[in-house]
């Protein structure tokens, strides 16, 4: 049987950073459904925030200013103790990555280069061209190789092993052999990434289906603030592929079909560099009000930046445009529209990354501490991964070391048996429903009714439709029985997660009768601090999520009107 002090589920930036920290103190292994170098971190482009003050115009930046911008960006829903911890730890964490060899771009003086990003008072976003995620993932992967950290590559975790209110490890499907195996651990860190592939127009990797969130949820851990879905302003039309905020950070314009820089109307001071929720809604309004090209997209114009700047600062964007849109942004504007990008919500945990379930930790996009509140600032998600990956690794390792060594083989045996039965039942399928068809319907419902602009009527209709899809899921066709690399089975697990999350997101959104950050209710257009300055908690119940609420930690920054 496989057994470790600490296991980390997920091989992206948060997971590997956690494993590096944990491995210094405890026997640690990483479990990942894809080779860690295929993780979604690699697709991050623009950069990672830290108040280093390296850029011209950024000299007066401080962790406090970073914290304020983050809290204001979050529409005051972030927990301020966690935000302050993150922004204080940011500089040391970035220097550490740099010492490990991360290929940051440089200022003329040879320091880490920084660029302006949305919602930030200073140029604070450290970058490596527009491939920051690639460079960061390489760096932490390299360090995990150096430390010889054990990896379970291409293992898909299907459930947690639970004993008397503690997490004792996971059951995982070895994708290459088809075997279900228990991996026991004294502490388990979930770093499984986000979920917004469950929207039909998304910037995300196809593996971001949120299945990691749902395994915690089914074990009784609440999912927090799931109604807050970030839409990135600039998804390439029509695929939704990410065009970095760095393109606007470097000076790109948003232009409608009348040739106007329309952000003047919505955020006259910050213009294109307003926070993402505001820019995305502005673009959608332009589209809805008939000032878009082909009624579908607006332009991101980089032409005035010139060839040199595009080639050195945004080479990846140019490559994406050439490959997927057949145009060169040096000569032509880029067609873009908002696309689902990030789950602000996630597995409920505190700033020690501890979930309510003993022995279970969460870090990165799958977690909700919350440092992003109702709207995340660009450049803060990679930072979240690095800082709280480190925190989770340390806390989990110390916790594991404090426990006596003990393997309850009977518990593991029975957990495995239960999971084998569940999988067999899932595969047996005595109906005719096509899992991917259910998924496609759910993705469309979410996009159309649980998108940037929501209303009570739409949300109620969506909830009803999603519940019907969930019922249909119990009448699946037989699922493929192959052992080796059974995509049909893995994708069925994912559809199960998709439908579950769709219901949670929609129910949470319906209950939040206010507009805050990325969650906008046309029937409740104002922020309502009196009733809704609180976190939503969705608890598992067989009949659908049970909602309650928890307090937001407010220390220095009192809620104020959010103007840019």
């Amino acid at each position: 049987m496989f057994q470790h002090d600490v296991i980390v589920v997920g091989g992206g930036l948060a997971g590997l950073r956690a494993a590096i920290e944990s491995s210094a103190l405890a026997d640690t292994a990483v479990i990942s459904r894809v080779h860690p170098l295929r993780s979604h971190t690699k697709a991050a482009q623009g950069g990672i925030n830290a108040a280093l003050g390296n850029a011209e115009g950024g000299r007066d930046d401080t962790p406090d200013r970073h914290a304020f911008d983050t809290v204001k960006g979050s529409d005051f829903l972030a927990d301020q103790d966690a935000v302050e911890l993150m922004t204080r730890m940011a500089p040391e964490c970035i220097f550490e990555l740099e010492h490990w060899g991360c290929a940051f771009s440089r200022t003329d003086e040879g320091k880490i280069a920084q660029r302006p990003f949305g919602g930030a008072g200073f140029p604070r976003t450290c970058y490596g061209a527009d491939r920051t995620g690639l460079y960061l993932l390489q760096t932490v992967y390299e360090q995990s190789v150096k430390r010889k950290i054990k990896q379970y590559q291409e293992y898909f975790v299907t459930s947690l092993i639970i004993d008397e209110g503690s997490c004792r490890g996971v059951i995982a499907l070895n994708i290459k052999t088809g075997e279900l195996v228990p991996i026991a651990a004294k502490a388990t860190i979930l770093a499984t990434g986000g979920a917004v592939w469950i929207y039909s127009i998304s910037t995300n990797s196809m593996i971001n289906t949120g299945s990691g969130m749902t395994i915690a949820y089914r074990a009784g851990v609440p999912l927090k603030d799931m109604e807050f879905i970030q839409f990135h302003p600039t998804g390439l039309y029509p695929t939704g592929l990410l065009i970095t905020e760095g393109a606007r950070g470097e000076g790109g314009y948003l232009i409608n079909s009348k040739g106007e820089r329309f952000m003047e109307r919505y955020a006259p001071k910050a213009m294109e560099l307003a926070p993402r929720d505001i820019v995305s809604r502005s673009i959608q309004k332009e589209i809805d009000e008939g000032r878009a090209f082909e009624n579908a997209y607006v332009h991101l114009d980089l032409r005035h930046l010139g060839r040199e700047k595009i080639m050195t600062r945004l080479p990846g964007i140019r490559e994406l445009c050439l490959l997927f849109a057949g145009l060169d942004p040096i000569d032509k504007p880029i067609p873009i529209r908002p696309a689902a990008h990030y789950t602000m919500g996630g597995i409920d945990c505190n700033s020690n990354c501890e979930t309510p379930l003993k022995g279970l930790y969460a870090a990165g996009e799958c977690s909700c501490i919350s440092v992003h509140g109702a709207n995340r600032l660009g450049g803060n998600s990679l930072l979240d991964c690095v800082v709280f990956g480190k925190v989770a690794g340390e806390k989990a390792a110390k916790f594991a070391k404090s426990l006596p060594s003990r393997t309850d083989e009977q518990l593991i045996e029975s957990s495995l048996e239960r999971e084998q039965k569940r999988v067999e039942a899932l595969q047996k399928g005595n109906g005719t429903e096509e899992p991917t068809a259910l998924r496609d319907e759910a993705r469309l419902i979410l996009t159309q009714k649980v998108g940037m602009f929501r209303s009570g009527t739409d949300l109620e209709a969506a909830l009803d439709q999603i519940r019907r899809l969930r019922r249909r899921f119990s009448q699946l066709r037989p699922i493929n029985l192959d052992r080796v690399f059974n995509l049909d089975l893995i994708r069925t697990f994912e559809v199960e997660a998709t439908l579950e999350l769709a219901e949670i997101i929609t129910a949470s959104a319906l209950a939040r009768r206010e507009s805050r950050g990325a969650h906008v209710r046309l029937d409740f257009p104002q922020r309502d601090d009196e009733n809704f300055l609180k976190h939503t908690l969705a608890h598992y119940a067989p009949t659908g999520p049970r909602l309650d609420y928890s307090e937001v930690k407010i220390s220095r920054y009192k809620p104020e009107a959010r103007k840019y």
């Binding site: 690699k42 060899g101 150096k146 592929l241 690399f485």
Partner: protein
């Protein structure tokens, strides 16, 4: 064969199932394609609508994760960034050539990643760490330009005749990584590194065939980095052997 409709293409995939222990075979799927359809999209259509047992790797669909390198109409390509309109309406997809097949289009990359680990793929500083970042001039940063952009898709490795004939040869991707760390101003063990890549299974097995360069879906040029390493190794060897060159 029924006549294909205007919006249909023929997607022929090499199938291999280890449990059957039989020979690999080809299967042709008829799938729909528009001008934006990629080979990866086509594979998903085949998987979802026609054969639930088809196996291939995928993730980012934006040409950066490196999962879906395949052999498409005789070229090393990423399935996600290859538009049907670029390759025609009769498409043959095979797994990366010269690699052990796990199932269908999924190949075993164990050896590929083992060789990557041989070159110590991480910066090893030998000076005391600074309080903040290392100062690295833009000129020094440029020395590692492009060599940092490899996505480890293994296309180059699969295309290299020296890899085909010498199973121990490190191959273009690992050697590119070796260059990336040897050329980094923060690294302090260049002599060790040159020792590793200068070994019997290292860079002298590269015969500058440039298949790697042609195969790279990120338009990188591993052969150039290998050549630079060869020059540096030669210089260092001469310096060590001939006293007046030191």
């Amino acid at each position: 064969m029924t006549k294909r409709k205007e919006d249909e293409i023929a997607l022929t995939v090499l199938r291999y199932d280890p449990k059957e222990s039989g020979e690999p075979y080809y299967q042709t799927f008829t799938v729909k394609a528009t001008k934006d359809t990629t080979v990866l999209d086509a594979l998903f259509q085949a998987l979802e609508n026609q054969d639930h047992s088809l196996a291939f790797r995928y993730s980012c669909r934006s040409a950066v994760c490196g999962s879906c390198a395949m052999f498409i109409n005789g070229w090393h390509r990423l399935a996600c960034s290859t538009l049907i309109s670029q390759v025609g309406r009769d498409i043959i997809v095979q797994p990366l050539p010269h690699m052990p097949i796990i199932k269908d289009l999924v190949v075993d990359l164990t050896l590929f990643f083992e060789k990557y680990e041989v070159v110590k793929p991480y910066v090893v500083p030998t000076r005391p760490l600074p309080e903040k970042e290392w100062i690295q001039s833009p000129k020094d940063r440029r020395k590692i330009d492009l060599s940092t952009d490899c996505i480890m898709c293994a296309a180059c490795y699969s295309s290299c005749p020296s890899v085909w004939t010498g199973k121990k040869y490190l191959g273009p991707a690992a050697l590119l990584q070796a260059y990336r760390f040897a050329a980094d101003s923060r690294d302090g063990i260049i002599r060790d590194r040159l020792g590793v890549v200068g070994s019997e299974d290292g860079l002298w097995r590269c015969h500058t065939i440039f298949n790697c360069t042609e195969a790279c879906p990120k338009s990188l040029n591993p052969a150039r980095f290998i050549e630079t390493l060869k020059r540096t190794t030669t210089k260092e060897t001469l310096k060590a052997r001939i006293p007046f060159l030191r």
